[in-house]
């Protein structure tokens, strides 16, 4: 019954704190309750290198053996080694607490309202939750009062944002066809439009536009002009307003929004809506044009020449948007096209005074977009030329984005295997010591279930030579991962009365788990 492999005596195994702190990230409040979890750099050496007697085994293990999968290693670039002033590059896109943000986003996605007074369902969409309860209803942007709801889709289970225009009657079926054009556009700085349909479910003629739902996003209006604005207004001693939004932020908006416009204009479309209340921030510094495609349906189809005019208007509107944010002056936008040249030029001067010349020039270029070229050789302003103009800021934003990618991959690599372990642990708990078989010795005291019970003891219930419990998460993770991989390595299981022992391979144990769990799940018990 004994085997050539080194024996493991469960009763005399010394306490080896081989828990690797990087394997599972530990929240502070839980860390207090777990031993050996403080991230101590000076003592990490012992965790990162296996003990010498494991060397031979390791050398034999071929590359990519699944049993090593649980030994997580931090990916570069290593944050620890970043100097303080380098952090800004990463921090530019990176949320300060990505985990908390993801949790809150998930929660917002799943939020429902029990009694909203809204229709139970619209087409395949149900569980409507109004997203803009506080906004006053006006026809300023679309010409019709508009509402926005979050809803689940029956067809794919995802959440979507439904924008409803109230009292709109579709005159021409053809004008809804542009939605197909919008559907094909893919730009990371634009909220994707999926479909549009008319409905009488609200008791009126409404048209619904279906978009990706980005949880916890806020509009540029709320971020910069709302009551809880992100960048409080700075005033100098004379009460004059100074610049409050960092130039880097303005450039990032310009880069992302011009990137969206480039995709839109290349498809012979125009954004038409560039209102701060319809542009959303979906995370710290990710800005997306929303409400695209609505004006094409509401305003009817447009000739080629008119489309070029609309594209020029997009550029002017982008210029006005950034100018109003830079100067903290809402009136530039709220006045629409009736804004005076004098106000524009006064605010451009302000920009030139407090920000770089490059920013002022970029805004001046956008604001001067008309169908008559400034000079013969310059041609009519267009977004392609603008992208060339601000290329250094594209480089800067690409660099930030790639840095953020590295951080996200590094975060993900720390979590990638935990889902598998959760499922395996749950299976164990479903199987072991079921009360309904308390009096049935055949259930968990013989055969496969008995093996699993002993293995459970081996994994969790070891004691050291003094009879003290061994609480070693490293041992647990190693054992469970070997089990999940079903490796050929053998393990000696000792019965509770220490009178018998069984030597089984992880492979056999794995098939035990499969068989027993399948038994458990069979409808006839």
């Amino acid at each position: 019954m004994y085997n050539q492999k080194p024996m493991v005596n469960i009763n005399s195994q010394p306490f080896v704190p081989s828990y690797n702190p990087t394997q599972i990230s530990v929240e502070p409040q839980l860390a207090q309750n777990m031993p050996n979890q403080r991230y101590d750099y000076n003592s990490m050496a012992q965790y990162a290198t296996p003990a010498p007697d494991l060397y031979y085994q390791q050398a034999q293990a071929a590359h990519y053996q699944p049993l090593q999968y649980h030994l997580y290693a931090p990916l570069p670039p290593h944050k620890m080694s970043l100097l303080p002033y380098q952090r800004t590059v990463q921090g530019f896109f990176l949320s300060d607490n990505i985990r908390e943000e993801l949790q809150r986003k998930s929660e917002a996605s799943l939020q429902i309202l029990p009694t909203s007074g809204l229709p139970e369902s619209l087409d395949v969409y149900y569980s409507l939750v109004p997203l803009d309860t506080n906004a006053e209803r006006s026809n300023r942007v679309f010409g019709y009062p508009s509402w926005i709801y979050k809803a689940f889709s029956k067809s794919d289970g995802n959440t979507y944002a439904l924008r409803r225009l109230e009292g709109f009657k579709l005159a021409d079926e053809k004008s809804i066809a542009t939605v197909q054009q919008w559907r094909r556009l893919s730009n990371a700085s634009m909220v994707t439009l999926f479909e549009a349909f008319t409905t009488r479910a609200f008791g009126d003629n409404s048209i619904i536009f279906v978009y990706d739902y980005h949880p916890l996003s806020s509009t540029l209006f709320d971020t910069h002009f709302g009551p809880g604005a992100r960048y409080p207004v700075v005033r100098n001693a004379n009460g004059q307003i100074g610049p409050s939004v960092p130039e880097q932020v303005l450039w990032s908006y310009l880069v992302q929004l011009s990137s969206a416009l480039k995709t839109i204009h290349a498809a012979n479309l125009a954004a038409r809506v560039m209102d701060p209340s319809k542009i959303i921030l979906t995370s710290k510094m990710r800005v997306r044009l929303s409400a695209m495609g609505i004006m094409d349906v509401v305003g009817g189809s447009v000739s080629k020449e008119a489309m070029q005019m609309l594209q020029l208007e997009d550029l002017v509107n982008l210029g006005r948007l950034i100018l109003s944010i830079a100067c903290n002056n809402q009136s530039i936008i709220s006045m629409g096209s009736s804004v005076s040249l004098q106000l524009i030029s006064k605010n451009l001067d302000f920009t030139g005074k407090f920000y770089s010349v490059g920013l002022k020039n970029a805004l001046a270029y956008l604001l001067a977009s008309t169908s008559t070229p400034v000079s013969a050789e310059s041609g009519i302003n267009n977004v392609d030329d603008f992208v060339h103009m601000i290329a250094p800021y594209y480089q800067q934003n690409l660099n930030s984005s790639l840095h953020y990618q590295d951080s996200l991959e590094s975060e993900l690599s720390r979590e990638v295997e935990n889902g598998r372990l959760v499922r395996l642990l749950c299976k164990f708990n479903f199987i072991n010591e079921r009360p309904e078989y308390d009096h049935d010795p055949a259930w968990s005291e013989t055969g496969d279930r008995y093996l699993l019970k002993l293995f459970r003891d081996y994994v969790f219930h070891q004691t050291d030579e003094n009879g003290h419990p061994v609480v070693d998460l490293g041992h647990v993770l190693r054992s469970l991962n070997k089990l999940d991989a079903g490796v050929d390595e053998k393990v000696m299981l000792v019965s509770r009365d220490e009178q018998s022992c069984l030597i089984v391979s992880y492979k056999e144990l794995k098939s035990c788990v499969d068989v027993v769990f399948r038994d458990l799940c069979r409808p006839n018990g």
Copy 2:
């Protein structure tokens, strides 16, 4: 003893398959063994909305209550809704199997060699593993034979790549000071240099340069010219070589490498090494300049004028690199500066024939970088002008990168809570049914431990009205998360003999777990 809350009778609870398929990603081989896990769009509605009797509870739950944290929701943009041809945008940076890649990277980071014949440690670095065993040793690039090793650092536990130049004797201590300048640069398309030191540990005079270690990276040389090249050479009917590398890939290299050069040149430094064997691909489409800073130490300090020449050489070398990859012609690089103008122009013609004019022009610009400007108004070629020139491709790459960010955030959001659940499940298993207390009724049959045992039964060992086991992962996750959050909600626990029942809050149960687990971890048992 009874409470106003709705009762849960563990023996008669109907089987409700409320497992949400998006909560934990399931590997195919495991999915077979778990019931109710097929991703069925048409039946998802019932999972996404809680049952009607839960509405009231949900409405009462304030926003951001931790108990909802485990209800993961997929983040937009939804991959399912992407049209086939849109996938390329995301797929550009996205690895086809991000999870597998992360696992393999982790494994590569942790690999060790038992008997390498290398020094046991170098400064704070130990466990050296040679990374370029197959490469022939030549002084072509640095003027000295060079080696590269992976090693762990004692000071922070991370892995680093150590590049060693053999037989190098530091003549001037000052020249090693430029390493400090390199250390300060932060660019996502460049491998960060941390420090350099001389050592006699190899039995000679060696100098070691310490970089971030990027696991599983391959060099551009291996990717394009090595035996297992990624893009096999395409020949037409006449045996002539056609283009094999997609233009998008060439642009991505140009964008990333010029981004690195921009950062380097802005710091008054020059890359000096642009060899395909020293540029690495760290994931599908992420390219990074490595071996930076070595030539500054080896070649000694450089005057301001000489630095400008070196920067111009960087541009020419970048042009040669991309040209050689586009035309699959190694000789353009291996001949170094002695490459004939004729060969260059022949290959440029090839590029113009099979790729866009824009690419040919970009390469021609790089290759024509000399200290004499082409015309009076154009000025001397520089990387800033080049970035302006290829701005549309910066826009394209930024868009791809932002899309990839979205995908990574979405992946991460699905895993973010699993680590916490693994720890909680392990605690449970450490506590329940320990064999050493088999005969001690005080251990797990009274007080806190008894409560936890009953709670374990409540979570895992429920049966339906026919006495069949209820295997409901949704119930498990909900219960464990409520426990972890320590909410005030109460739960009724029934003893195994059904003779008594206890009503406790999750809050009380949470403190039970804490107390009992602390007991278990106390050194004196």
